[in-house]
Subunit: 283 residues, 2 copies
């Protein structure tokens, strides 16, 4: 369990790492950070979001912490562990914030020292801005926190990870397998981002601004996207994302053919289905 004497290290002090640090410090934990930019550490120290921090990864510093939260790009997360896992305290618990699971969880669990445990989690929150300067724990309020345990996780680690989600202020905490997680995320999040990006790539649309109603704005809001992070997440979830894209392309094509053929019947039936199903999602 996460008692107040546990020291927590945030690895990667960006928007999400910074928001974790803010909430955990506020909850009374001692929070440290290691990140690449000196400026981020200085900012977080000045704002009291962390009580210590460094840009140098040393055994002395790292070995103090009982819980390590990795808020890095997936490939950097794995590289970091390859280089520095020897520095981590005996028996420490490791968690992450990565948006894709299958391609990360098993690899990390396999490479990790036997006395360490990695329990994966996905905080489904974010903003269109980045950096610790925009850290804001209130983004977790009302959001979902998904824990994705595997057969090699202990009940204690799962419980601690759920507890962490609670301290951070998430509205709903749930558990699904890494595979279910990636299927869901492929559909709900990655596919929708692909659609928004495709729509904005259709035409140089700045002359349309004055004619644009809410529907176009709603569909393209998420077209503002961190291309480095999202291209990596797409490719990490390649097979699942391709299935979801093909599923969507098939339905879109049905509508296209119905329009071409003047098939009012099919159009109406698909609109009835969409109207009914969308009603489940009203908040």
């Amino acid at each position: 369990m996460l008692t107040k004497d546990k020291k927590i290290l945030i690895v990667g002090l960006g928007l999400i790492g910074g928001s974790y640090a803010q909430m955990l410090t506020k909850a009374g934990f001692e929070v440290g950070a290691v990140t690449r930019s000196r400026k981020s550490i200085d900012y977080a120290l000045e704002k009291g979001i962390i009580s210590s921090g460094t840009v140098d990864v040393t055994r002395d510093y790292i070995s103090q912490f009982d819980l390590l939260v990795f808020a890095l790009y997936p490939h950097i997360f794995i590289e970091w562990l390859e280089k520095y896992q020897d520095y981590i305290k005996q028996g420490a618990l490791i968690t992450d914030v990565t948006g894709v699971k299958v391609g990360v969880v098993y690899k990390v669990q396999q490479m990790l020292r036997d006395d360490l445990e990695f329990i994966a989690a996905h905080p489904m929150a974010g903003r269109e801005v980045c950096g610790v300067e925009n850290a804001d724990g209130s983004i977790f309020k009302g959001a979902n926190y998904i824990v994705t345990p595997t057969a090699s996780n202990t009940q204690d680690a799962i419980a601690t990870c759920r507890q962490l989600g609670g301290i951070l202020g998430f509205a709903r905490i749930s558990e699904v397998s890494p595979e279910e997680h990636d299927e869901m995320i492929g559909f709900l999040s990655q596919l929708t981002h692909c659609i928004a990006v495709a729509l904005m790539n259709c035409k140089e649309s700045s002359h349309l601004v004055d004619f644009t109603g809410d529907s176009f704005r709603d569909l393209t809001r998420i077209a503002r996207i961190n291309e480095e992070m999202w291209s990596e997440l797409f490719l990490l979830n390649r097979d699942e994302l391709l299935s979801q894209m093909d599923l969507f392309a098939g339905e879109f094509d049905k509508i296209r053919n119905a329009v071409r053929d003047g098939d009012t019947e099919t159009l109406r039936r698909m609109m009835q289905i969409s109207t009914l199903r969308r009603s489940y999602f009203d908040k």
Copy 2:
């Protein structure tokens, strides 16, 4: 010009027709209505949205009005004129609210008596509910009103139609050709509705509600759709909508192939373009 002694008839007293009636009555005009349901007339009379109304189309009633606003399904609008245009007052002006223009404007202008003039307009406003009971003139606030004149329209009719948009409270009033209108609407509105409908048709997604973030909700809000109206509008704009759908499908396919091939370069470039273009649309 639309002086206060002009009498205005709303043909079709639903959400949009009712909202027109409400705003025009409030502005001091005498507003009448003809519609299919007795209940809608009674409601509008009781609420003071109209000063007269009927379900019976008679020469006596129709011939009083100087401006007629048709807020009907496109095919009913055309049928109505075929049957009843003889009843309309000499020299009256006719306008509409139809969401597609090319397939309506030329047909109506061609069939109309020589002393009558039809100037087409598209109020880009709506709600997810229908009926005069939901009429609400505030839906026009902040919205776009598009006048689509042809070579056969007079300057006077165009000016009156623009004036009408102003009285209704629209934020922006613009003029484009019926062809430009349909291309724009095909892309901004019809294509986006096709996408939302396709997305909701992909899977029975009610079990995903608890995991759904804002992106999926944003993309599917417009999947609640009046299937009778929208299937008619799609087919009225068939060629243009097919072009826009194909344009989108092509960009979506580029992303799909980049995911399949692990082509980070293409993914990042498309995301950079979408991020840049989307910034024009921030309100």
